[in-house]
Each structure stands twice: as structure tokens, then as C-alpha cells.
């Protein structure tokens, strides 16, 4: 891998859309629901961030091009 493929990029895009709390302005009462003291919009943003971390780990699991070339030598 030298850069992420199109699929991970699309998932990153979706996670950014979900993680940025722009849509909660239309859901004010829902946004104030709390779980363990955290408003639900904060939990959504943190969850999106956690998914970005997991996706990044998954992308980084693929060997880079020089590792593949090294294996072939």
C-alpha cells in the first residue's frame, strides 16, 4: 500500500459526516439525552472517532509496497 484505496476513503468520508455534530441542531431534545454523563451527540462523535481509529488500524495492517517488494527479492 502506498495510500489508502477508494473504499477506505469513502468510509472515512462517511465517518467524518457522522462524527461532525452538524445534524444535532435539528434534534435538540435527542442531543441532550445522556449516558454515563455524556450527551448522546458527544458519544456519537467519540464513536465515529473510535471507528476512524479502527479503520486506520485496518488500513495499516496492509503491508506497504517496499515490504512486498522486499518479500519478492
Amino acid at each position: 500500500m502506498h495510500r489508502p484505496g477508494i473504499q477506505p476513503l469513502m468510509i472515512y468520508f462517511v465517518l467524518i459526516i457522522l462524527g461532525v455534530p452538524w445534524y444535532w441542531q435539528w434534534l435538540p431534545s435527542l442531543a441532550q439525552i445522556r449516558w454515563l454523563g455524556l450527551p448522546v451527540w458527544v458519544i456519537t462523535s467519540l464513536s465515529a472517532s473510535a471507528l476512524v481509529s479502527l479503520l486506520t488500524v485496518w488500513v495499516l495492517r496492509q503491508p506497504w509496497e517496499d515490504e512486498i517488494e522486499g518479500d519478492h527479492e
Binding site: 500500500m1 502506498h2 495510500r3 489508502p4 472515512y12 467524518i16 462524527g19 461532525v20 455534530p21 452538524w22 444535532w24 441542531q25 442531543a31 441532550q32 445522556r34 454515563l36 454523563g37 455524556l38 450527551p39 451527540w41 458527544v42 462523535s45 467519540l46 465515529a48 472517532s49 473510535a50 476512524v52 481509529s53 486506520t56 488500524v57 488500513v59 495499516l60 495492517r61 503491508p63 506497504w64 509496497e65 517496499d66 515490504e67
Partner: protein, 486 residues
């Protein structure tokens, strides 16, 4: 309300002193472990850094004193909207995906030492190489000054003596320790001390979380209190806040991934697998570290709602003082947290000094002033440059004790973002030429700094650096179109 800790007793000071002496010992071990008197060995540890040391040095370098003090204070001021900090710290690792694999491969093939070595190889256009080095040096030199001042402030709040004397002695003493271990062991000493400091920093975040819950109770009760006196801190951001949120994601991802000391950490990995594995762990750290600063900020807002804006950046110290006065365990956990704060500040400062001295030596002295200088001459100049930066940092920190550097620090990311086409875009746009990148960079800097100087640091909630980057890219496209038409 006092912004200082309860002064440490001799037992507590001895623990901190022991930790600092340990850093010197690591410098000595780094000196004994050197393999050759070369730039690659001194500045990149012979490019043989393993997974854990690389991870911890990346971590300790990216997370400065600002993560503990600045993020806690910012959460106090804006509330849960500062959750963006968890996202933007994660976005730095995502940004690496776009250029680290290729850059690492090239750095191996062509033995790069400084970030500008890549530009020399890619464009062979001297004005660009020089300008990019100067931009990086200016951006991080101010950051170094901020770390030096933070060292003084940390010690000032700790000793029961004249504040000016405590501040000055703190800056000189801690900078002296960095000078010794960095001169002795170069990158090896810096990376190994960063590894120790990274561990202490992680432990410090855990201690902070424990202290908060023990002192104030659950997050649930804190948000219930917050709902009573500052309900707006629980709300999602407004539209202008959303624009600022998105702006932060991009400016931090681009700017922080292009810190010269971070680029040099890409170069220093033993191999691709090492770098890949370190980044895998780095991707998960913001969730468990940055979010602790947010919790501390929220707890502070809930239980100490009447702090003045100036006091908010000292919130962490104020919270620690509360904890210190309660129990013996609290007192000792604050010692751990204080060591973590010192670790965060010193590990950022030492990496900046090493990076600055390598760029001044290799890019400016070796690249322009004395191109025929031998490796040993460059090494000597490099060490002297390191001393010069430490001396300049100490003098600046003492002279500017009462100055706030926040505005200048904000410009750091605006400046570094203008390097995005040179380092990121150029890896994938084969026809991109040095002249276009140089012109784009100049236009970007003028726009970004111009906006900030005119008092528009974030027009419509978007960082000036992103306006600069847009102008930068437009200039590049215009110049490329002209060249291709000719």
C-alpha cells in the same frame, strides 16, 4: 483561588530530581551506544528505531504540555464542543497514511536526514528547499520558546521561593538537562528519554482520570451540576462552531503531520513494518488520552465554575491543588502528574531542538554556506547549533516571562499547512515542479499570515491557514497551466 500547587516537600522533590538524573543517565547510555560519528547516526539514531521506542517518541513528541494544560482549559471555556480534539488528534495519523509510506521508502533509498532532503531530491529547486526549511524553523522555533516558558511556569508553581527566581532557575536547570543528554546521545538519547517520558505521560493521564473521579465523583454528577449553572456547555456546537470543528480537523491533520520532528521520526524507523505498527497504536491513543483532558475540563467547569478566562489555562494546577490537600495518596499522585507534565514539555522541547539544529546544519550551513563541509565539521556545527537554540530559548523564555504566545503559536499550523503541496501532493503529482510549489507556498504564506495580522485568524470559523492553502493550490494550478500551455 491559587493557581499554584502546594509546594513540594524534600521527599517529593527528590523523586522528581531522581527522574531528571535518570534522563541524564539515558543520555550517557545513548552516547555509549553511538555507532558512527555521522549525521544519520546523531540525528536519526542510525535509522534503527524499533516499534515501541518509535511509538513512544512519536507520542511524546505529538502530545505537548498544551495537551494537558491547553486542552483542559479550552474544555472549561467551550464545554463538550472540545470533543473535536479527540478527532483532530486521530486525524494526524490518518494524514500520515497519505505520505508516510512513500516518504519512508524514499528516505531509505536516498538517506534523507532532514525534511528538506526530500524536497531537494524531488524538485532540485534551491529556493524551495531553503524557503521550506525557513518556514519549518520559524514555525517550530516559537513552539520551542513556548515549551521553555512552560518549564519555568511549572517550576514556579512548585517551589516556595521568589516566583521570578523559581521561574528562571527552572528554565535554566531543565534546559541544561536537555542540553546534556541531547549533546551526548543525539537522537538515541532523545528517543529513549521520549520513551520514558511517553510512559510517564500515559501513566499521568491515568492518574489524572483517577484523581478526578476520586475527588469529584462520577461524570454523571458533574454534568448534572453543569446543567444547573452552565447548560450551554452541554450543547452541540452552533453552525459557526461546526465550521470551526471541520477547520480544526484539516488544519491539525495537515499541520501536525508536517512537523519536521514528526517527519524525521518517519525517517528513523528500522523498517516499514516498524513504522506501520507504531502508527497502528498511535491511531488509538487520542481516545484514551485526549478524552482525559476533556473530562478534567468538564469536571473543573462543573465544580469550579467561577474561574476567570486567564485562570482557565491553569485549571489543571488548580484541580491538582484541591487533590493535594486531601490525602497522602492524592499528594503522591500529583507528583506523578507533575512528572508527566515535565515529560510532556521536555520531550517536545528536545525533539524540536534536535530538529532545528539538523535543519540549520544540513539545509542552511551544509546546503548553502559551506557545501563542501565534511561530515565531522557538520556534526560539530550541529551540536553548536543545538546549544545556540537552547541558549536562545532560555534567554527568550526569561525575557518574555509575562508575554502570552498563544497568537504566535496559532500561526504555527497556518504556516506548516503551506507545506502540504511540497510534501503530500508532490508524491502523487509527478509533473508538479519546484517553481510552481515555491510560488504557491509564498502566496499561501502571504494569505495566511496576512489574514492573521489583519485580525482575521479564523474568518467564518475557518483557520487562516486553510485560506492560505487554497490560494497556494490555486497558484500552483495556474502556474502549471501556464507552463503546460507554453
Amino acid at each position: 483561588m491559587s493557581e499554584h500547587l502546594v509546594p513540594f516537600h524534600w521527599g517529593e522533590i527528590s523523586v522528581i530530581a531522581g527522574y531528571l538524573m535518570f534522563l541524564l543517565l539515558i543520555g550517557l547510555i545513548g552516547w555509549r551506544s553511538r555507532k558512527a560519528n555521522t549525521m544519520t547516526d546523531f540525528y536519526l539514531g542510525g535509522k534503527s528505531t524499533g516499534v515501541w521506542v518509535l511509538l513512544l517518541t512519536l507520542y511524546a513528541t505529538q502530545y505537548s504540555g498544551n495537551t494537558l494544560f491547553g486542552f483542559t482549559g479550552k474544555t472549561y471555556r467551550v464545554g463538550f464542543s472540545w470533543t473535536v480534539s479527540v478527532q483532530f488528534m486521530t486525524s494526524i495519523v490518518v494524514a500520515y497514511l497519505f505520505f508516510a509510506p512513500k516518504l519512508f521508502e524514499l528516505s531509505r533509498k536516498f538517506t534523507f536526514v532532514t525534511p528538506a532532503d526530500f524536497l531537494k531530491h524531488r524538485f532540485n529547486y534551491r529556493p524551495l528547499t531553503l524557503a521550506a526549511s525557513v518556514v519549518m524553523m520559524v514555525a517550530i522555533a516559537n513552539f520551542l520558546l513556548a515549551q521553555m516558558m512552560a518549564m519555568g511556569k511549572a517550576v514556579e508553581g512548585l517551589l516556595d521561593i521568589d516566583p521570578y527566581l523559581a521561574y528562571g532557575s527552572g528554565v535554566i536547570f531543565l534546559a541544561g538537562i536537555i542540553l546534556v543528554y541531547e549533546t551526548l546521545g543525539g537522537f538515541r538519547a532523545v528517543a529513549w528519554t521520549d520513551a520514558i517520558q511517553g510512559c510517564i505521560l500515559m501513566f499521568g493521564f491515568a492518574a489524572l482520570l483517577f484523581l478526578m473521579f476520586r475527588q469529584f465523583g462520577s461524570l454523571e454528577s458533574a454534568t448534572r451540576l453543569l446543567e444547573g449553572h452552565s447548560p450551554e456547555k452541554l450543547n452541540p456546537p452552533t453552525w459557526s462552531g461546526i465550521r470551526e470543528w471541520v477547520s480544526y480537523l484539516f488544519i491539525v491533520a495537515i499541520g501536525c503531520s508536517l512537523y519536521p520532528q514528526a517527519i524525521q521520526r518517519i525517517y528513523c524507523a528500522r523498517n516499514s513494518t516498524t513504522l506501520r505498527r507504531s502508527l497502528m497504536v498511535m491511531a488509538c491513543l487520542p481516545l484514551v488520552t485526549t478524552s482525559v483532558s476533556i473530562i478534567a475540563g468538564i469536571m473543573g467547569r462543573a465544580y469550579l465554575p467561577d474561574l476567570s478566562p486567564e485562570q482557565t489555562d491553569s485549571l489543571l494546577t488548580i484541580l491538582c491543588r484541591e487533590v493535594q490537600q486531601e490525602t497522602l495518596l492524592g499528594r503522591w499522585l500529583v507528583v506523578v502528574l507533575f512528572a508527566a507534565i515535565l515529560a510532556a514539555i521536555m520531550s517536545t522541547a528536545d525533539s524540536i531542538i534536535l530538529s532545528l539544529s539538523s535543519m540549520l546544519t544540513k539545509d542552511i550551513y551544509g546546503g548553502w554556506w559551506a557545501p563542501s563541509a565534511s561530515e565531522s565539521q557538520m556534526m560539530l556545527v550541529g551540536k553548536r547549533c543545538g546549544w545556540f537554540f537552547i541558549f536562545a530559548g532560555v534567554s527568550g523564555a526569561i525575557l518574555l516571562r509575562d508575554t502570552t504566545l498563544v497568537t504566535m503559536l496559532d500561526r504555527k499550523l497556518d504556516l506548516l499547512a503551506q507545506l502540504c503541496p511540497a510534501f503530500m501532493v508532490s508524491l502523487w503529482w509527478k509533473k508538479l515542479d519546484g517553481q510552481s510549489v515555491f510560488r504557491g507556498m509564498l502566496v499561501g504564506i502571504v494569505v495566511a499570515i496576512g489574514l492573521a495580522v489583519l485580525g482575521h485568524a479564523k474568518p467564518f470559523g475557518i483557520h487562516a491557514g486553510l485560506y492560505g492553502l487554497t490560494a497556494n493550490l490555486m497558484m500552483i494550478f495556474a502556474n502549471r497551466s501556464r507552463i503546460e500551455a507554453e
